[in-house]
Each structure stands twice: as C-alpha cells, then as structure tokens.
Amino acid sequence: MSDQQARKPAQPLQAGSIALPMIPWGIAAVLLCILPFIFTNNSAITIMNQMAITIIFALAYNMLLGQGGMLSFGHAVYAGVGGFACMHIINSGDFFSGLPLPVLPIFGGLVGMWLAIIVGAFSTRKAGTVFAMISLGVGELIAACSVIIVVFFGGEEGVSGDRTYGLPFFGVEFLQQIEVYYLIAFWLMLSAILMYLYSRTPMGRMANAVRDNPERAEFLGYSARWVRFYSFVASGFFAGIAGALFAINYEILTEENLNTTQSGIILLVTFLGGVGFFFGPILGAIVFTLVQTVLSLQTELWGFYLGIIFVATVMFFPGGLAGLIMMHVPALRLGKLGRLGVPYLKTLLPAAIGALGAAALVEMIFHVRHAPNGDQEMTLFWTTFDSHTILPWGIATLVTVVGFGIMRATAPALVEAWNEANTPDGMSE
C-alpha cells in the first residue's frame, strides 16, 4: 500500500462509488492483455494459464463457500467432469472440426452444470455438515469411478486429445501457448465479470442471506433449499468452464482432476485468498500457483511451508489475504493509513527476516537428516556452505532469534499505531 494512496482524501472513493466497480475491471483487462509482453517465455505463460484456470475455479468455489456458506469437499468433480466432456468433444472428430475452440468452454460449463443439477437435487437440502459430507461422498465416488468407468474417464492414464483439430478461429489454430493464453484470459474476464454480476442479482443476495440465516430467509418467502440449489448449479457451471479451459490448455484430463486432493487444493486456495471478498479467491489462486510452481522449484519442502501458511492463516487471519488487505480500508478512509507505514516496517521486516532464518534452519535440519551421506554441501539463499559445521547454524539461529525478537519488541507499538489509525470509528479489526 503506497503512501500516495494513503494520503488521498476519502471522499473521492465514496463519491465515485458508481464508477468505481469499472476501474478494477479495466485495470485487470489491460493487465491480462499486456502480461505476455512482460513475461515472454513459455513457462511464464504456462504458469499464467494455470493461474487463470485456478482463478476461475476458485471464484466458482467461492460462490458456494463464501457466498452460499456451503463447504464442499468434492468440488473438483464438476470441473473435472466438465473437462472430460470437453476432451471427448475434442476427440469427436467431425463435430469438433466444425466447432471453433473458443466456444468449447460453454460445453464444459453445461456439463458441470448438469452434474451439479443431479447432485444438488439431493445434496442441497441441508447446509453444514450434511452438505459437506455428501459432497465428500459424491466426490470420492466419482473419483473412484474414474478408474472403473474407463469408457468415459480413460482409467488411470486419462483422456487426451489435440485442440488444434477444431475449426480455425479467425485463422488462429491455437498451436502456440500464447494463443491459448488469450483464449483463457478472455474466458477469465468473462467468467469473473459474470460471477461478480451474479453476486449482485437477487439470487446472489439471497445466497448471502441464506448463508447467514437460512431460517429468516425462509420467512422472507425464499426456500433456502432452492437458493442453495441455484448457487450450487451456478457454481457447477463455472467450475465446468474452468475444467474445459484445463482441457484446452493441457489437452489431457486424468483422475487427479477429480480426486479429493484437487478438491482440497481448491478449498485451500479459496480460503487462503479470503472467502469474504469477491477478489479473495483471485489473490489465493495467484499466490498458490506461484508457491506451487515457483517455490517448488526452489525447495523440496514447499508443501511444509504451504501447510504452515495455511494453518497460520486460518488461526490468525480467518479473512484470508483479502481480509488482511480490507482490514486497512477503515484506516484508508480515515486517511491515516500512512501512519502505519513505519511501524509496519519496524515489525514486519524483522519478522520476515526471522521467518527466512527459521526457514533456513528448517532446510538445514532437513538436509542433515535426509541428504545422502557425505553430501554436506548445501546451497541456501545463493550461498553454498557445509551443513555439518556450526557456523551456518549459528548464523541462522541468530537471524531467527534476532528477527523474531525485534518483532516481539516492536509489536506493541504496531498495535498501538493500528488502534490509533482506526480510532475515530472506534472499530479495530
């Protein structure tokens, strides 16, 4: 959060509240267009494609979790089955060769929706644990079926195809990653806008109402069950679109698109980003994809770090990243955000350094325990050293202790500054 933003008076934000929703969308659209010119290599585009697909899926998932209050442990199946269906369309020969590829996601969405209609018919009668458990059961069932029903799911090796056999779309055959990127980016914008608008419709509003108080909603004339059902179906539709884009991007679908791990990941992504705000899952998807693809290139222990981040998020920031950011809005409105800058720097910088030190310790312990005997050399933060000597351990411990020590010492000042920055409203957190 820059100082410049902080010093802006609060009025324009409120006065322009009708125009405001357009601005982030515009920025996002422009960004999506120019990103490939900044990151030109194919792996960056691959990562961005993955990110975009995850964003759509996470947003679809949040239609359930965030907006509808329904916790699903098997949502991967709607994306997965949608994707499998698209794979079969791609392999269908004649039909596909008369179909421009960019239209394909609609079919994925429809299939995802169709499955959601079937499952939702009995699973949305109740929210809470019953819904969660049915979603888990159905998820496990369909995932298990994927190796049994080979005709549709292709067994363990999955179903693959070639997207380029579709009808050329204004001469584009989608041979290159970059062409696929723009296809996905288009669908990302479209789905995100549609999902955002959906949350502003009577259905979207009532989904919130049913989430907060299903009984009251019933006494307003709405059947909680039908509201949940429609949310579920809509979510299934967008999940199916994500699945279709997956099919286009990777040209293969396998059991892992359906299994509980995938469902768990999307829950993790959404919650990490923050279920309370529309843009939360977007943040979550970006951060998660980066952690998964970039951090896993750097360290074997990425899953461990991710686990810690996740548990810490649930414990300390149940609003997720988005909640964390939005916590600052009151201070921003009061024009006092700038006052947090220095205390933040004083606390968070040492904390970050301490965390890096702790990570170094973890890496060293891991190296000593699991590296092959005789292999004592390890490289950490661009430094190569012998993990069996005392010096690096001393340095890492020192950095950790000092980092966290300073953090502890400066934390009260930060809390004070925080309260001060939020006082006039009398609302902290």
Binding site: L197, Y198, R200, T201, P202, M203, G204, R205, M206, N208, A209, D212, N213, E215, R216, A217, E218, F219, L220, G221, Y222, S223, A224, W226, V227, Y230, A234
Partner: protein
C-alpha cells in the same frame, strides 16, 4: 367474509407431552390481536405452528380460508403471512439496507432471478429506503446489521417482517428485553407500520398489549380460556384467576 387467520382444533404434542391442546381461534382481517398467557403456556409453539416451523399434530390452520397443512415456511410467507422472532433474527453480516432489500425481493417479484442487478432497480432501492425511513434507521443504512444496538435490531426485525408487504403480521414478543423508552418507541413504530394490516402478537408487557390490541386471547396450558376486547378479558374471572390478577395489579 373469511377470517384472516383461523385455527380449528389445533393440537401439538412433543413426544407424550401435549403442548397445544385444541386451540380454536378466528382472527378477522384488520384486527390487532394479542395472545397472552403465563410462561410455558405454548404461545411461541402456537406461533411456530402457524408459521410452518413445526408441523401440527392435529387440527387445521387456515390463512384467508386456505389450509396451511404441510406448507413450508416460505410457502406460507408467500401467501401473505410474515413473522418476527422472539430472539432477534436478522442477517448480521449484511448491511441494514441490504437486510431490508432482501426482504423486498420476493414480494417485488424477483423470485430466483439471476439476470437483473439489484442495484439497478430504482423500485427496490426506493422501497427499501422507504422502509428504513419508517423504522427510522436511515442513518444506519450502510452499517452491518450486527453492530446495531438491541432496540435498533428489533426495529430492523420489524422492518424486515413488514417489508414483504404481507397483510398478516405476526410479532413474537417485539419488546422483550427493552427499556421503557425503547418500548414506547417500538409500540409507536408497530402501530404505524401495521396500519391497515392484520396483526397478531405474543407479548408479556401488558402495557403494550392493552395499548395496541383490540382483541386479546388468553392461552393457558395449551388452551384458549378467553377471547375478547381488552375490557372483556380484563373482566373475565377465569382469566384473572389463572393469570391476569397479579399482572394487572402490577400495571
């Protein structure tokens, strides 16, 4: 003319315990009807039976002559009956305005609409603002409902209850837990917003009851022992014996 609400031998038992033991009651359109009775008489159960929260064990409930048996709460609501709750029952995370707007949606014919923006509808916004005006919460419009004071939340609850335009309004102890000034405020509020509608309320505060109601029924141990105008009920010996004696002296 059919009665707005008619109960005919209504019964309800939980296990072996019979809570409502054959209630017959007819409430005319436009009537303001209070149901009073000692604690445990079954007033809330009666409310829950009428609004479809519980299924009755016997007897019939008719709203404008239509039998309500087997109808879900939302169906009953769509037939023009709306209720408030004894324990404040609002949408705490949504803004005050949003609370009211949600309660307007069905009545305004939006049903399960997912193609029009709620923010775009002038009628919806104006309708909600009008109700906020009525319940004097315009200043709180954009706050999350959960942060309102208790009295404000109760007022909001009444706002939500009437917003849908139902012609039969049921209020479950609308003044429970309020101070005197707050009570007076709510009574006035109820009087204005239920103008021309059928009002059925459960209430402990006799001041409220005698101030608002033109008909009173007394429920004791699951049976109605008396129905009539406040004066009649006040004079009824059985009522005095069973319940009112002490309460009236207090008043």
């Amino acid at each position: 003319m059919t009665a707005a609400l008619e109960l005919d031998g209504l019964k309800k038992s939980f296990g072996k315990t019979e809570i409502i033991r054959g209630v017959d009651l007819s409430i005319g359109t436009g009537e303001r009807h209070a149901i009073i009775g000692p604690n445990g008489a079954g007033k809330s159960t009666l409310f829950n039976l009428i609004t479809g929260r519980f299924a009755q064990s016997g007897g019939a409930i008719r709203l404008h002559g239509t039998d309500l048996a087997g109808k879900a709460p939302f169906e009953i609501n769509r037939m023009g009956l709306s209720r408030s709750f004894q324990i404040t029952n609002i949408f705490p995370k949504m803004t005050v305005f949003e609370n009211v707007r949600c309660s307007l949606l069905w009545a305004m014919g939006y049903r399960y609409n997912f193609w029009s923006m709620v923010g775009r509808s002038r009628a919806l916004t104006d309708g909600a603002d009008e109700i906020l005006e009525q319940i004097n919460l315009t200043a709180r419009r954009d706050l999350p409902a959960g942060v309102l004071s208790y009295a404000e939340q109760r007022a909001l609850e009444i706002g939500i209850t009437i917003a849908g335009g139902a012609d039969v309004i049921m209020l479950d102890e609308p003044t429970a837990g309020m101070s005197h000034s707050e009570t007076d405020y709510i009574v006035d509020l109820i009087r204005t917003v239920t103008e021309g509608k059928t009002l059925i309320m459960v209430e402990h505060d006799m001041g409220v009851v005698f101030g608002l109601a033109d008909q009173i029924s007394v429920l004791v141990y699951g049976e109605i022992i008396a129905t009539g105008t406040p004066e009649n009920v006040r004079a009824n010996a059985r009522v005095q014996e069973a319940y009112l004696g002490t309460a009236l002296e207090d008043h």
